[in-house]
C-alpha cells in the first residue's frame, strides 16, 4: 500500500522533525517542559502556556478509537481511495489525533477499540502515520 494518490502534507521548518521521524516509523508528540503538557499537532510554542521550551517526544503508538466514520466522499480524492475511515484516536499519552484507520472492515471499527500506529510510505521522504486495529 502506498499513500498516493491521496494528498501529501506540506513540510515546513516548524514541522520538519515530525515528518522526518515518520520516515523511521516514529510518531512524535510535543512535550512542554514548562508546564508538562504533551500535545498534538506539532507547533513551536505550547498551546497551554505559550512557552517555547518544547521538546519532541516519541509516542508509544498505541491508543483507542475516540470516534470514527467511513466517509464515501472526500473532495478531490479519487474513487479508489474511498471510502476511507476517518477517526480520532486517543493516544496513551492523552492527545486525540485525527487520522485514518487502515486495513480494516469499517463494520469492525468501534469506539474504544484498541489501535496501533502504522506508517504508509509515500514517494517522498516521509511516511503517513495511520492506525490499524489491534488484537
Amino acid at each position: 500500500m502506498t499513500w498516493e494518490p491521496r494528498p501529501l502534507p506540506s513540510v515546513t521548518p516548524e514541522t520538519a522533525p515530525y515528518w522526518e521521524a515518520t520516515a523511521d516509523d516514529q510518531l512524535l508528540l510535543c512535550h512542554c517542559t514548562a508546564c508538562d503538557l504533551t500535545y498534538y499537532y506539532p507547533r513551536s510554542r505550547c498551546p497551554d502556556c505559550l512557552s517555547d521550551a518544547v521538546e519532541w517526544q516519541e509516542a508509544a503508538g498505541t491508543g483507542v478509537v475516540y470516534s470514527h466514520t467511513a466517509t464515501e466522499l472526500v473532495s478531490e480524492w479519487p474513487e479508489e481511495a474511498l471510502p476511507v475511515v476517518v477517526a480520532y484516536v486517543e493516544l496513551d499519552e492523552g492527545p486525540r489525533v485525527l487520522t485514518n484507520l487502515v486495513d480494516c472492515d469499517p463494520a469492525d471499527v468501534a469506539v474504544g477499540a484498541p489501535v496501533e500506529v502504522t506508517f504508509v510510505e509515500t514517494g517522498a521522504d516521509l511516511s503517513i502515520p495511520v492506525f490499524e486495529l489491534r488484537e
Binding site: 506540506s10 498551546p47 475516540y66 470514527h68 466514520t69 464515501e72 476517518v86 485525527l98 469506539v111 495511520v130
Partner: protein, 389 residues
C-alpha cells in the same frame, strides 16, 4: 445627550435564487444589499457601516474594500470578520456594538455565495497550511468532521439516527410552505434513515443543501429607527465563542454554543424558556441537536429525546425552528448564518409563511456555527426581540 445604545435590524432580504450561474458573487451581494435597504426604506447613501465576511475572497482581494468600491459606499466603520457560516450572526453583534459606540448609524451586512455553480480551482499542492497538514491529509473535511461528532454523541448519549432524522423532518415540514426552498417535499424519518449513507452515521438527508444565494440585513441606531416606517427588531443580546482541538483534548459532543449562548442570554437578561422561535445553524442534523443542548433548551445528551415528536415543528411545537426550511431544505449558499438572522426577523415581524408563523413571537434566537465540529468552529448567538414587547 447620552446616546441610546440599542441597535435594531431595520431591513432584511433573502435573494430568491438558489442557482445563479450567470451572476457574479459581487453582483449577488449588491442585489441583496438593494433588497435589504429597500425593505428598510433607506437609500444606499445612508449606509455608513459595512460588514462582509468576504466569502473566501471570491469578490477579490481585501473583500470589504472590493465591495465598498463595487457598492459605492462611504463608510465610517467596516469589518470583515470571517468565521465561516456563523460570520453573519457575528455581524449582528459587531454592527450593534459599532452602532452603540456611535461609529455608524446604518450598518449594512451582506452575504453571497455560489457553492452550487462556482467551482474555484482546487489549491495547488503545497498550499496546505498549519494544521490542515494534519487534517486534509486524512480526508478530514466538512462531512467526516461532522460525522465524527455524530458518532461520539451517539456513543456517549445513545442518540439514534432516527432522532437525528426528526430534525430533517421538521425542516422539511416547514420548507413545503417556502416557494423558494430547494427541497419542498416533506420527508419521513424512514426516508431520512434509508437515504444513502455518506459518512456513517450520517445519511444524505442529514446534510444541508448546496445552493447559490445571497442575503443582507441592515442594523440601525435608535435615531434612524425613529425616522423610518418599517417595523424594526431589537437586538437584545449577543455572544460568541470558539471551540477547537485544544491541544488534543477536543470534546466532540459539545459545541461553542455552550459558551456563546449563556453570554447572549446574560446580555439580554433572558433564559432559553423566553425564546419563542429559534433559527439554529443546520449544516447537518447533528449540528442542530448538539446546539440545542448547548444553548440550554434541554439537558446535555438529551437532544435526541428533545427533538422527538415534533418539538421543532411550527407553529405548535415547543420550540419552532428554521421555519424557512433552513439550510437542510431551503438555502445554504456556502454559509448558512445569514438566513438564520433573516428568518428570525421575519418571525418577529409576523411575516413568516403563514402556516409556520409562530403566534405572538416576541423573542427569537439566531445561532450560527462556523467551521467544523470535528476540529474548530465558532459559535455565535444573537437574541432578537419585537420592539415594545
Amino acid at each position: 445627550m447620552t446616546r441610546d445604545q440599542t441597535a435594531y435590524i431595520a431591513g432584511a432580504y433573502e435573494h430568491p435564487t438558489r442557482e445563479a450561474p450567470d451572476k457574479s458573487i459581487a453582483q449577488l451581494h449588491a442585489d441583496a444589499a438593494a433588497g435589504a435597504l429597500a425593505d428598510a426604506g433607506l437609500p444606499s447613501g445612508a449606509v455608513d457601516g459595512y460588514f462582509t465576511a468576504g466569502e473566501n475572497y471570491q469578490v477579490g482581494r481585501y473583500p470589504p474594500l472590493a465591495m465598498a468600491d463595487y457598492l459605492g459606499l462611504d463608510v465610517s466603520y467596516f469589518d470583515s470578520t470571517d468565521d465561516g457560516g456563523s460570520a453573519y450572526v457575528n455581524h449582528v453583534g459587531e454592527a450593534a456594538s459599532a452602532v452603540a459606540r456611535g461609529k455608524c448609524d446604518v450598518a449594512l451586512v451582506t452575504l453571497a455565495g455560489r457553492m452550487r455553480t462556482y467551482e474555484p480551482d482546487p489549491p495547488e499542492h503545497g498550499d496546505r497550511i498549519m494544521q490542515e497538514n494534519f487534517e486534509e491529509v486524512y480526508g478530514g473535511e466538512t462531512l467526516p468532521l461532522y460525522a465524527l461528532a455524530a458518532r461520539r454523541h451517539m456513543h456517549e448519549y445513545g442518540t439514534t439516527s432516527e432522532q437525528l432524522a426528526e430534525v430533517r423532518v421538521a425542516a422539511s415540514q416547514h420548507a413545503q410552505y417556502n416557494e423558494h426552498a430547494m427541497y419542498r417535499e416533506p420527508v419521513t424519518v424512514e426516508e431520512v434513515v434509508e437515504s444513502r449513507t455518506v459518512a456513517d452515521p450520517l445519511h444524505l438527508l442529514d446534510c444541508c443543501v448546496v445552493s447559490d444565494g445571497a442575503g443582507a440585513f441592515v442594523v440601525v441606531s435608535d435615531e434612524v429607527r425613529r425616522g423610518i416606517d418599517r417595523e424594526t427588531v431589537e437586538i437584545l443580546g449577543h455572544g460568541v465563542a470558539v471551540d477547537h482541538h485544544d491541544a488534543g483534548r477536543i470534546d466532540l459532543t459539545t459545541t461553542a454554543a455552550e459558551r456563546s449562548g449563556p453570554r447572549a442570554f446574560a446580555e439580554a437578561g433572558l433564559d432559553p424558556a423566553d425564546v419563542d422561535y429559534a433559527s439554529v445553524y443546520d449544516s447537518f442534523t447533528i449540528t442542530v441537536l448538539q446546539t440545542l443542548e448547548d444553548l440550554g433548551f434541554c439537558e446535555k445528551g438529551r437532544g435526541g429525546e428533545f427533538v422527538d415528536g415534533g418539538t421543532l415543528q411550527a407553529p405548535d411545537g415547543e420550540l419552532p425552528f428554521n421555519t424557512d426550511g433552513g439550510g437542510l431544505c431551503s438555502n445554504h449558499p456556502d454559509r448558512g448564518g445569514m438566513t438564520k438572522v433573516i428568518e428570525a426577523v421575519r418571525q418577529l415581524r409576523g411575516e413568516a409563511n403563514p402556516e409556520v408563523q409562530v403566534p405572538d413571537a416576541e423573542v427569537a434566537l439566531a445561532h450560527g456555527t462556523g467551521g467544523y465540529l470535528g476540529t474548530r468552529h465558532a459559535g455565535s448567538t444573537a437574541l432578537l426581540g419585537r420592539v415594545g414587547r
